[in-house]
């Protein structure tokens, strides 16, 4: 039977942490609907109205729904 298997995830420390650093992601403000682009580590806050709830924008990839 299966013996002790060391958890694999511990060993797999991520190496590529830097790629996400400079990228900014676009969000939408929950209050004023303005687009907010945030970088890593920036406080979550709308630049125009100061609201602190942001929503991720919808993907522009194609999504296919199954109509039932």
């Amino acid at each position: 039977m299966s013996g002790y298997v060391p958890p694999t995830s511990t060993a797999a420390a991520t190496t590529t942490t830097s790629t996400g650093e400079g990228r900014s992601v676009d969000y939408t403000c929950g209050d004023c609907n303005a687009a907010v682009s945030l970088k890593r580590g920036e406080p979550i806050r709308c630049r125009s109205c100061g609201h602190r709830v942001l929503y991720k924008q919808r993907t522009n990839r194609m999504v296919q729904f199954e109509a039932r």
Partner: protein, 1254 residues
């Protein structure tokens, strides 16, 4: 006479409402008048009266007054389709309207559309309609709900706490002294609660800026919706007295819609802007993003004497409760003698000694006070004096000495001196025994009288056992609301706050010389947010742990259930009882006659909490505390004589009645009836609070006045000289908006009665029943039901358990939650895609606005047998209906992730770099490491790439600060979607909470159509699962070509006797055909006869049965089929969430048996009873396979010699491999042996041949 104290909360609401109501109402009136005109012309058509047919009215009045059920908000009244035949008349009257409309348009625009619903007159009534008091008095109900009712008690209670109670608590703990410096003092001069704000706004600077925080932001960001508590202080610094204002001492969670809430007094339009639902009742707290309700708690009333006989021992007990102390005192009857028992006393003390100690020294006076001149009572009481001679106690001194010697020692005697028994006894009697009767200046007389009255009650009960009190009587109960619960919590924390503060300053003041001048203000903030955190923790866990009252109550708060709008409402009106559930007594669970109109008779859960959890009826209010002093003054003004100066002759003489205020005797009157009516008159003209109750108890010859909090009461119309005080004139004023409910109160037309006073009144349900003895008239009979039971149409025609079942199921129905349902991200949210309001409505539905947030659909139902897939309550669904969206619902789920900050400065992060392009599970992740919005998530798809620092301890190798990422190692802690059924990512929210922790909430969506096994229910406790989804072609059809949405098996009717369901079908069908809303209001509603008339007129059978043709054979069905619309609810139990199977799968580590439960992919249990079956049948091999082979079979080596387990063919005990054989046994059994061995219990296994040769 002091004027009635103006209550801030309700009055303000009332004022606002009055202002709103005073706006010109002309356009609505006139239009509605027009609209109703055609109806009046067609009396038979609209004869389908929506009024609660209280009294068979003349046809003409019915037509006019009933004018229909179209909401009267300006345009709708006009545009709503009327009955078919009216169409012509209506178009003819149209040309005139536009001109008028244009002129008046601005006015309706300014009004809130939905507020019309709460307007007293909205059923197309116009100002000119004649008013019939018998049928129109129900209009008081919406007017009442505008001011009080349902959730208002929570809000009122909280307001009372914030505005009054808070100040009282601070007043009681006003000064902080120091032990080290007797000159020092700090005094609180005022306390206030400000408007809610965010914590960072609060900390910035002292200047308070208006915050734009909303409750919804708190929900989304997991904040606590709280407001700062500020105090004004003055204290001594050096030689001067310093005053400071607005010192923050903590934060108080704010109840939504209370007068401190930002939603208070906002219009419905603003509610939308604040992302709040205007229909949402409020009355709960938002604590760490969760909505928490403090349930109403039911308790035996405090400070009242209750006589009970437990196990043959008669006793009178009273639970005294003051701000300082809580204690229980008994007067018990033992072997014909009366004793006083109290926890502080080592043993029971003869009642005579207590009375003597309280200064009533002569035996004659004692017997007069207790027994009066009644020889029977005197004889019963006389033996008590024997104790005097036995113990040699005759004087007050001797009595005090005796009592003092029986007092339990509180603290160790200081050693050098003997205990002074007399002083201790005085101290004890004055402050500990019956604390709620205060002793001023050594005047023990009131307290002695109280004890005497308790003794008398026992004597009376001894003589006549029917005088024993009923603990379950609602009048002996008090309801504890949010305000009271918070008040004791705050008091405890405030005292601790002061104590810690004192400790702090003591520490500094003890030092002989200080570097700088001592400023106590600097020390106020040292112990930071204990107050804030304490209250917040109590609210979010529901654990009320108060040392002072030795109170440890768990489960005080609950998460507000947002399954549906009804479940939320139902939760706000719920009352939980303090009785333990295991007790096998039926008393507390039984329906009490005194519940009438106060607690809903139908709405209670089934099972263990049955009858213990109750719900408020529609028209109830729970009182808040009123001041006692003005009432006491009034008692004397009304001619009652002070009881302190009265002797036993006067108190118990013939015709003398004792006036009790909150259970304490204060006066004697010889004209109780006059006193009562005079007192009531003062209340009716508003000189004392409307919630002060007064009633006569003829058994005890007492007039009882109650001003305490927590009494349930309800409004009733006053009847004088056989006539109702509410006349057409006043109803007209109500309709016009010149009067509101409070005006009815102050004019003495309506008054609140609590249970005790209600019991003392003659209340007529209908106006026709009023006779010369009647004192009050019921506002509306259907208000005896609660909000949840009010959804049921024709509940008075159902078997009563069915209504109870529906009350439980209505809370599980999928529908709409609130207007802001899409802006809030709930953990679990069920929504119906096409909810409909019911065809057959009730008054309650409209009052609680269930028709605005409905949970169900009007399904066309054929009651017939079909296909055999409909046995045992299964339903047949029409496939075409399902395709068109019948019963379709959406399920939203939340997956929340917090990026934690660790103590060493490191924090979690989203690691977009970890995205593996080759891994198909990562394909839906976006560039930011979070799944893309709109993507379909299937099982095992990763939706968030999170990395956790490997080293999170403060004592890291690098030491101290560990800036995140700086050389630290990271561990991937990705989150993946676990459920078998796919979903779509609906919304992703990122925000920060109070501690600057980043939170990511991912909302997923599934759209589900009904499938086999999904649960549906009508509104009559008739639940069923989908048995088959049949193609429309195979469904039966009527001669109009109508096919049913649902086919229901007729066997559901005979045994359940849900006649209301049949009536709903009938009324619904008539309503559909005529295009009107029909009503199934309890004790009223549309009459079956009228419905039959409509059906007949429309060419249908009066019985509601239709001729159907089989869709399968094309032949006519051999009998007529009961056919029409019934409101069906889809319940939250869906097959998709329950479907589960497993062949092989995970096992629990400890026992190696399969895991349990669907969420862990667990096995299917062969339980004890199934096991019993197999044993009984003798299927031993099957048993072995099920219980061992397929579960946790395990091979062990057992030594034949010693019977112990070895390993690898070797017995460690015998040091031999001989006679060691392998056997298979359950791993759990092996585990048991080893566990026993670890406890020094040796278990031997005896081996035998499996197939013995002999």
């Amino acid at each position: 006479m002091p004027p009635r104290p103006k209550k801030p909360g309700p009055t303000e609401i009332g004022d606002a409402a009055a202002k709103a109501a005073r706006k010109p109402r002309a356009p609505r009136g006139s239009k509605a008048g027009d609209a109703t005109a055609p109806d009046a012309a067609n009396p038979s058509q609209s004869g389908a009266s929506d009024t609660i047919n209280v009294k068979p009215a003349k046809p003409s009045t019915t037509a006019e007054s009933s004018a229909p059920a179209v909401p009267a908000s300006g345009e709708t009244a006009q545009d709503a389709p009327r009955g078919g035949n009216n169409a012509v008349e209506e178009t003819s009257s149209r040309p005139a309207k536009p001109t008028r409309k244009r002129k008046e348009q601005p006015v309706p625009a300014a009004k809130d559309d939905f507020s019309n619903l709460l307007e007293p007159f909205y059923y197309g009534k116009s100002l000119t309609d004649p008013i019939n008091t018998a049928t129109d008095k129900w209009n008081l109900l919406p007017a009442f709900l505008k001011v009080k009712g349902l959730v208002k008690q929570h809000i009122d209670s909280f307001n009372h706490f914030v505005d009054v109670e808070l100040k009282k608590i601070v007043e009681a703990n006003r000064v902080v002294h120091s032990d080290a410096d007797d000159k020092f003092f700090l005094r609180y001069t005022d306390i206030r609660v400000l408007k809610p704000n965010r914590i960072d706004e609060d900390n910035k600077d002292m200047k308070y800026k208006e915050s734009n925080i909303t409750p919804n932001e708190c929900r989304l960001r997991d904040l606590t919706y709280a407001a700062p508590i500020v105090v004004d202080i003055e204290y001594r610094r050096g030689n001067r007295i310093v005053r400071r204002k607005d010192i923050r001492i903590g934060r108080l969670p704010i109840m939504l819609r209370s007068n401190k809430c930002v939603l208070h007094g906002r219009s419905n339009k603003d509610m939308g802007l604040l992302n709040e639902c205007e229909i949402d009742p409020g009355g709960y707290f938002v604590v760490r993003g969760q909505e928490k309700v403090i349930l109403v708690q039911e308790q035996l009333s405090k400070n009242r004497v209750i006589v009970e006989s437990a196990k043959g021992i008669m006793q009178a007990s009273v639970t005294s409760s003051t701000h300082e102390r809580k204690s229980k005192t008994y007067v018990i009857l033992k072997k014909g003698r009366l004793y006083l028992r109290h926890n502080i006393l080592n043993e029971e003390i003869p009642i005579v000694f207590i009375l003597k100690a309280m200064g009533i020294q002569s035996d004659h006076e004692i017997i007069l006070l207790v027994a009066g001149e009644d020889t029977i009572y005197q004889d019963q009481f006389a033996p008590n004096f024997e104790a005097c001679t036995r113990e040699n106690v005759y004087t007050q001194q001797q009595a005090l000495e005796y009592i003092g010697s029986k007092i339990k020692m509180m603290r160790k005697p200081s050693g050098y001196q003997r205990r002074n028994y007399q002083h201790e006894a005085i101290e004890c009697l004055a402050t500990i025994v019956i604390t709620h009767v205060p002793v001023f200046g050594m005047n023990f007389r009131p307290k002695a009288l109280y004890v005497a009255f308790m003794a008398r009650r026992v004597l009376m009960a001894m003589h006549d056992p029917t005088l024993v009190d009923d603990r379950d009587y609602v009048g002996n109960k008090r309801l504890e609301l949010a305000g009271q619960m918070l008040s004791i919590l705050f008091e405890d924390h405030f005292k601790r706050f002061n104590h810690e503060f004192k400790m702090n300053i003591d520490k500094v003041l003890k030092k002989p010389n200080r570097a700088s001048e001592f400023d106590a203000y600097d020390h106020m903030h040292l112990h930071g947010n204990h107050l804030t955190m304490g209250i917040e923790r109590a609210l979010s866990t529901g654990n009320w742990n108060l040392k002072r009252f030795k109170m440890e109550r768990a489960g005080v708060t609950h998460l507000l259930s947002r399954l549906s709008y009804i479940s939320a409402i139902g939760m706000m009106t719920r009352i939980s009882s303090q009785f333990e559930k295991t007790r096998k007594v039926s008393g507390p669970r039984a329906l009490q006659p005194s519940q009438f109109g106060m607690l809903c008779p139908s709405d209670t859960p089934e099972g263990e909490a049955c009858g213990l959890v109750k719900n408020l009826a529609l028209m109830t209010h729970i009182t808040t505390e009123d001041e006692e002093d003005p009432v006491r003054k009034l008692v004397f003004i009304l001619g009652a004589e002070d009881i302190v100066s009265a002797s036993g002759y006067e108190i118990h003489g013939v015709g003398a009645y004792v006036v009790f205020v909150n259970g304490t005797p204060i006066a004697v009157t010889r004209t109780p009836k006059k006193f009562l009516t005079d007192f009531r008159r003062f209340r009716r003209i508003g000189r004392i609070s409307e919630f002060v109750s007064i009633y006569i108890n003829h058994h005890h010859n007492g007039v009882h006045i109650a001003t305490d909090e927590g009494r349930i009461c309800r409004p009733l119309i006053i009847v004088e000289r056989g006539r109702t005080k509410v006349t057409a004139r006043y109803l007209k004023a109500l309709r016009k908006g010149t009067m509101n409910f409070d005006d009815f109160l102050t004019r003495g037309l309506v008054e609140y009665l609590d249970v005790n006073e209600e019991n003392d009144s003659n209340i007529s349900v209908y106006e026709k029943d009023i006779n010369e003895h009647t004192t009050h008239l019921e506002v509306e009979p259907f208000t005896i039901l609660g909000a949840v039971a009010g959804l049921i149409p024709y509940p008075h025609h159902n078997q009563s358990p069915r209504n109870t079942y529906q009350c439980a199921m209505g809370k599980q129905a999928i529908g709409s939650i609130a207007y802001n349902q899409f802006t809030r991200i709930d953990t679990l949210l069920y929504l119906m895609v096409y909810p409909q309001k019911p065809m057959v409505s009730t008054r309650t539905i409209e009052l609680i606005k269930y028709d605005k947030l409905p949970a169900g659909q009007n399904a066309t139902v054929a009651v017939m047998s079909y296909s055999g897939y409909d046995i045992e309550d299964a339903l047949v669904l029409n496939k075409a209906s399902v395709d068109r969206g019948f019963g379709r619902c959406q399920v939203f789920k939340k997956m929340a992730v917090q990026l934690k900050n660790y103590a060493n400065g490191a924090s979690d992060m989203i690691n977009a770099g970890a995205r593996d392009a080759t891994n198909p599970n990562h394909s839906k992740i976006g560039g930011d490491g979070i799944v893309e919005v709109g993507m379909e998530l299937a099982k095992d798809d990763v939706y968030l790439l999170k990395a956790t620092p490997a080293n999170t301890s403060i004592y890291s190798v690098s030491g101290g600060a560990n800036p995140h990422g700086g050389g630290g190692e990271w561990r991937d802690t990705h989150s993946s979607y676990k459920l078998p059924d796919p979903c779509y990512v609906d919304k992703i929210m990122v925000a920060e909470n109070d501690n600057q922790t980043r939170i990511i909430k991912i909302q997923t969506r599934q759209t589900r159509r009904p499938e086999l096994g999904d649960k549906f229910s009508s509104r009559h406790g008739q639940k069923g699962v989908v048995g088959i989804i049949s193609p429309q072609a195979d469904m039966p059809f009527s001669d109009d070509g109508v096919t049913p949405d649902i086919i229901m098996n007729p066997h559901g009717f005979p045994s359940r006797m849900t006649v209301g369901k049949m009536m709903e079908l009938l009324s619904g069908k008539a309503g559909v055909l005529e295009g009107t809303q029909q009503y199934g209001t309890a004790f009223g509603g549309s009459k079956v006869e009228d419905m039959a008339m409509i059906l007949l007129k429309k060419g249908f059978s009066y019985s509601g049965k239709d001729y159907l043709t089989s869709g399968i054979t094309g032949e006519a069905l051999p009998s007529y089929v009961f056919f029409g619309p019934i409101y069906y609810q889809k319940l939250k139990h869906m097959v998709q969430d329950k479907l589960h199977s497993r062949a092989r799968g995970p096992r629990a580590t400890l026992t190696r048996q399969p895991t349990e439960g669907r969420s862990r992919d667990g096995g299917l249990r062969l339980g004890e009873m199934e096991r019993d079956c197999l044993i009984a049948y003798g299927a031993s091999q099957l048993l072995l396979e099920r219980l061992m082979v397929s579960s946790d079979a395990h091979e062990v080596d057992v030594c034949e010699k010693c019977g112990q387990m070895g390993y690898q063919g070797w017995c460690q005990a015998c040091k031999t491999g001989e006679g060691v054989s392998k056997i298979t046994m359950p791993y759990a059994a092996k585990l048991l042996l080893q566990e026993l061995a670890s406890m020094n219990v040796k278990v031997k296994l005896g081996l035998g041949e499996e197939f013995p040769s002999g």
